[in-house]
Subunit: 490 residues, 4 copies
């Protein structure tokens, strides 16, 4: 007899066979990038100060390992044919190799940025036509990650083939260096990277740049959330709900080693409410987007930290099965902001390793409401009302039930609380993935990764929860009855 | 004076001239493929056990001749330049040539699968760049059919020309082997295969993968049924009504030797009601899609078998004229499921050989309703109310009137009923096309291929029938009056 | 001071400078093609019998000079490399050169057909890759016109450049023969021929094939009339109103020597009412589509002939200015057929030579209605209410006021009425453009080309008329006051 | 602490780094082109007479430096291979070099026109394939500006890459001449020039040609204002509001040295009301379109001149920051003309140099109305209600408060008022940018560039104004409190 999980998700199982690309990003990469809060205001100090806080706040241990320097770092090329890129010596007085060394010394990895164009988006020197020399420069400096942008690409777009060829050049160049460098495409979903990027990259951006709003429409991000698959102008100033809505049709295209990148996180930047940030972070984790923080650590609040560090949500992101959750339904609602893309309620669910599942009730309306999801809908991939999974009982675990209290988080930020062994009140909320990987923690049922027990659902029953406006409730589901499993073992 | 059929369908007549491509699939291919119910869980035993049931259930005799092994069968390439593909020796311990031999011994043909990409969709080794060596391997193994997928195609898409060139390579390679191999494109309708695939293939997939639902919308199949001609992301989890609706504009592009492939059948997989499966199967037959079963024979019920084996419906699929039925009208209705793509009623009709026609009243609403179609609409291609055809009387034959009773079908499945010569009660429902082809049977007015008499329609009259929700009524129409035909003979 | 016409239509004036392409089709070509009524049922007899009727009915004299043999005429290629196309010897026992000679002897020109693909649409041998040899064959046979189709084009589409290159090959080949051959592209508007076809052809089809319905939607012509500029599947069975609506945005792209081709006429084929045929014919003339009859002369009725032969309407088509009329407004109306694309009313107007204008009130609703158009809207190109033209008085001439009476037309068809010099009652309705060109007739104010006086309109006034359902009223407008002109002469 | 402006507009700051392309058009170019009012009716006299008026009316001093000769000036090529273009000797009896000299003598610059096609749009000889020879001809003649059109481009379009390559050829050719020539692309937004034109040109047209209507829909400009990013047929006869609406998503793509060109101005051509022209001119200035006059100076009225010469509005266009304003919101309103694209109200705002901002309340409805904009919306880029900018007090300056009185403007036109030093009443309204650049004037708070004081807005307050139908109110905003700035200086 066929395995139950197989029955429910043939496509998922099919994926466990071949390792992707270059062996990196087996789960979605995690880290920090300066762009969202600092833009061009980059420096050695910024990177190192931030890196130190990533360590001291416990975020490195939570999995945020890449410290990524975005645009505006260069002073052009050295003279001569194929001159290599030069770091701005004012901003980086000790040079990039030194920055990389110091970041490595902190147990972190170093990411940099260029563009598959003649200029970067901020109009610094780009790498188009200089792929080999620039890849070698990055490798020589000790770079572990390349975010590769799309500005000023000299018209080299219009079909998947044209764009693929352009990005392929840097992939070959990076591989030729011999150094493992995570390759993060940033062409904003143009020419459908979900069709072709898996074999040449570790992630691909799906849309125009994110902005620090939950669902505000901006004309510079002209395609609505319902149009994520054929957007002629990705733009920027895209809201979190815009980007998420666009990605719904192609979440499955992300696979271990190569992921849909919904862009960096805005958590902590002040433009959203706490509930909105929780929803933003939760959904990014569920759909297997890279989790790259975009905040200014000088401004990070306790509540912000308690979002970014939540082990139970990160465990979904880093689940070894590597399968994103899917949107099962979406309905329009009347309650919405004036400039909102739309007011909707949505239900997302997906399979996790070990037979668990995750379900999210997303309220993108403005009013709080009771929401519910039938097991038939949650398990629609295994047959809806005909599903054997829907005919089981399931225990629920609230992924935000064990959120770190604000005062503890604030204590960490303020230096009053340490993450050391004796800090019992911290270890209730803080997971050290460098000591025990998420896969190991999940296999051993570490409760930090489970969230808190939140009742159970009967066969063919309903998951129900009160959800605040612009908020989410999200649960891990674990099969209660072992009846079927025993049958499997016969 | 011009022939009446010519008057009514110039385009159809025009088609009788040149044989297509490679001489195969003069009528839409029929067979079985493991993907829909087994996914990657493939093996020699699965194929051979299934093949034996296809024979013993009478389905081979009904025309289902291709047994197709889908993805996940390989262990990569043998070492060296241009290494050939190797079958997984655990799953296929006797090798593929042996599997082919045994399938051939059963009077069936053997189909296999690869992808026009660097990997298959389940991330096994693909054939892109290895077309010649892989085609030769398939030919050496005795393969009769190649399903050729589209995953991981290294960006080689974006215009018909790019995609054509990619698929053309395998067509040339298959032809070069000298073995007749049915070539089944599976690029999901990308880059408009209906514009170019007829000269290089026997069929082309029109959409994303089917799922076992009648009309449920899934965000992973984002294009609505009304958009079958410009879908930027074919996706998967497409419902039967989604795929059918998408195909309505280009049914005519299928011609003898090269067909629109609306994807494999879901009959017997449990996700639809009996009425839905009847509608699904009927419409696939009318529009000349290949009829490739996708069920697990261990679970096939009597009612399922009685659908798959219905001679009167298969005779429409395999009609020698080779012209698909067209949708003549569609209207929205209010009664629909919450997640349905839409609620609609539709009328389809088309010409058959010998002057017959077929008409289907498709109720894709949830409620039963009386439906009717005027002869003017049925014969709109010959001038609607001005049509000489509409001014004739027509006898109707219900294509499901002679459906095999469930108990007989169950008896066949259970081994209690045999298909031998003495089984009179079976031969009322079972047609052996290996003994007498559908063309011959139609020419001799074999009543098994006609269905049951269901009244007649007067000149300019109306075909009327009660149709259950998510159901279909379908009739063969035969001209009653010979008046006009006599005039033709003058 | 600037000329008044210049003020009103800069773009039009700009066109008078350079002759297009090959010197043919300075006004839109006129003729007959067998496809619409005979399809593949072609023969020498059909062509010659039809040609004789074109002469005897006075249609040659009216300007219909090309007799065009469509698809299905060949028996493939002669053996050997670059074998030339062979005419079907059963259908054309005396060979094509003989057919051409006899057509030429009748004072007509001979057109033929091929496809820029490996096969024609009816799957006869196509010319792709054989452009030089086939062009020479056509020239050798004495062919004057090539309709060049788009079927089975081996994927050579997807950008204007790909399609242009394919059609360019035949253009070069035709030019190389040294024989003037009108080159009529038939790629159904794919890849935007209005952007590029003017420099390589005399006309280009704008849409899928026409069908003999006024406004019935057919799923095989999936793009609605509002989408003429980006139709991924042109299809066929397109209604007259569908094609006209699609063309509205690009009428201006047709210029002397190279025209938008809205496909052949259906007048006389029985699927439309007389009013609908009048509207169809009128609008094809106004928008400068080629006027290629598509009827069976054995079935042509008197009313049909009186449409096709109307001098006042043809004079608009053949006006030496060569500028199509534009749609000035369109409004939805409630009265429409069940399967209609839409119910609309529309106003079209355009400039003619000599300072005249034409205005059409098109009622594509089902009910008769009073319609009106302000001079401001008619002359919107010269400034609407600010227009100097709108501030003039205008005399109106009804282009259908002098329609040939049915009995006279029937007499011509029946052979009871001859077109000779003494037939005074015929010459009231029949214009011989071979004796005096339309340009000359217009210059001399020949009343046959004017229609009948139908009142006048005051400055800033309104053209008003009762228009039947699915009908049109169309007027030539001539400036009454010479006041302004006198000022010009100062 | 980070700079306040940086906080509010990272993207803007990022732009200050690299100079674009060829050093020209650091702010949007200003000038005059004959097409809108004269079309093909061009001559040496027209250019020189116009040039003299541009000087005498003070428009040269206001910044309108380019006098551009559009289409229809040539008589083809001189004989021989690579023959150079010849000026029409009737229209330009002294040759183009002479025209250029005399224009230069007036302190103006000379622009010319060609097409990246085999013919220009008016079917004169085009430059496709003759880029090098034509660029050299233009340079030899002393041309300072090339408008390069898109007609008859021989199918060379369909992807950004195809179109880029075609326009790149002329860019290389122009650069090779060594003469600085402003390169103005005119391919109507086809193939997304905002994605690729910045590195090869100084501006690119965004849409089909403008017409002298505020918001009238014309079928020849088929794409609605909401679809500016994927318009398959740019067309012509596009209204001002159509073009503006299309451009809203990509205003940010314009950068110093390379700008979105919304097409030439219609101010003074008579098709719009004064309020409409004010709105048209204002918005063109705010979005950083080139300001190229398109009027006939023989007809220019005083009110028209007072629009074109308004220093406070031009100072926004020529602001040294070079960042266009963005649309912050748009709402439909009921009051609209019958043929209007839509009735809307819109709010646009953007950053200016020196910490100022500009806000426009655009009423594209027909009725006057009170409009208002919150500081939160005006400063949405810096965080809406969280914005530090929104929490400041702002002084408002009405950019039209100091509009030149009609009688003074009429006096200038009539020659009764001179612009000399003693003309005190003129210098209240007339700014001489050749004496003091806009950047210098702004830095010195020249009140001519500020407009008139119009109240102030409290922190988190509202800008409110009565706006007439089809009108605009536009204000410069200057931070009142220096509190924050002082904090910055700490």
């Amino acid at each position: 007899m066929k395995n139950l999980v197989l029955l429910s998700s043939i496509a998922v199982l099919a994926r466990d066979v071949t390792a992707m690309y270059n062996g990196l990003a087996v789960t979605p990469q995690m880290g920090w990038d300066n762009w969202n809060s600092f833009g061009c205001d980059v420096s050695e100090d910024l990177l190192l100060n931030t890196a130190r806080k990533i360590v001291s706040y416990g975020l490195r241990d939570a999995g945020y390992t890449y410290v990524i320097l975005d645009d505006c770092w260069s002073s052009g090329r050295s003279p001569g044919a194929n001159g290599s890129l030069i770091a701005n010596s004012t901003r980086f007085p000790n040079g990039m190799a030194d920055v990389a060394d110091r970041i490595h010394d902190l147990g972190l990895r170093f990411g940099m940025y260029s563009s598959a164009g003649s200029m970067t988006c901020a109009r610094y020197t780009g790498s188009l036509g200089y792929e080999e020399v620039d890849a070698q420069t990055f490798a020589d400096w000790g770079v572990d990650y390349l975010k590769y942008d799309n500005c000023y690409n000299e018209g080299q777009s219009g079909t998947p083939l044209i764009t693929y060829n352009r990005y392929k050049k840097m992939q070959v160049a990076l591989n030729n260096t011999g150094r493992p460098i995570l390759y993060s495409l940033c062409n904003w979903g143009e020419d459908y990277p979900w069709k072709w990027a898996q074999t040449i990259s570790n992630s691909w951006r799906t849309s125009g740049d994110i902005t620090d709003f939950f669902d505000r429409h901006d004309p510079r991000c002209p395609c609505p959330p319902s149009n994520g698959i054929n957007c002629a102008l990705p733009g920027f100033h895209c809201s979190a709900m815009n980007i998420l809505g666009k990605a719904a049709p192609y979440i499955d295209k992300g696979i271990p080693g190569s992921w849909n990148d919904l862009d960096m996180l805005e958590v902590g930047n002040g433009g959203m409410t706490d509930a909105e940030y929780v929803a933003h972070f939760t959904m990014w984790a569920l759909v297997k987007s890279p989790l790259v923080m975009g905040n200014d650590f000088a401004k990070l609040g306790g509540r912000d930290l308690s979002i970014l560090i939540n082990p139970a949500v990160i465990a979904v992101s880093q689940d070894p099965m590597g399968a994103g959750a899917f949107r099962r339904w979406i309905y329009d609602v009347e309650d919405r902001d004036g400039m909102a893309e739309a007011g909707t309620i949505q239900m997302w669910s997906g399979a996790l390793s070990g037979g668990d599942f995750v379900v999210a009730l997303l309220n993108a309306g403005t009013r709080p409401r009771m929401m519910n999801a039938t097991l038939a809908d949650i398990f629609v991939d295994s047959g809806a009302e005909h599903s054997e999974l829907a005919q089981q009982s399931w225990d629920l675990y609230d992924l935000w039930g064990n959120r770190m209290p604000e005062e503890i988080a604030a204590g960490i930020i303020g230096g009053n609380v340490t993450l050391g062994a004796g800090a019992a009140n911290v270890t209730d909320y803080y997971y050290n993935a460098t000591a025990k990987s998420y896969a190991e923690g999940l296999a051993s049922n570490d409760m930090l990764l489970m969230g808190t027990a939140a009742g159970s659902v009967q066969p063919m029953g309903v998951v129900e929860a009160m959800v605040e406006g612009h908020g989410v409730r999200v649960f891990r589901m674990r099969m209660r009855s072992r009846l079927l499993r025993r049958r499997d073992e016969l």
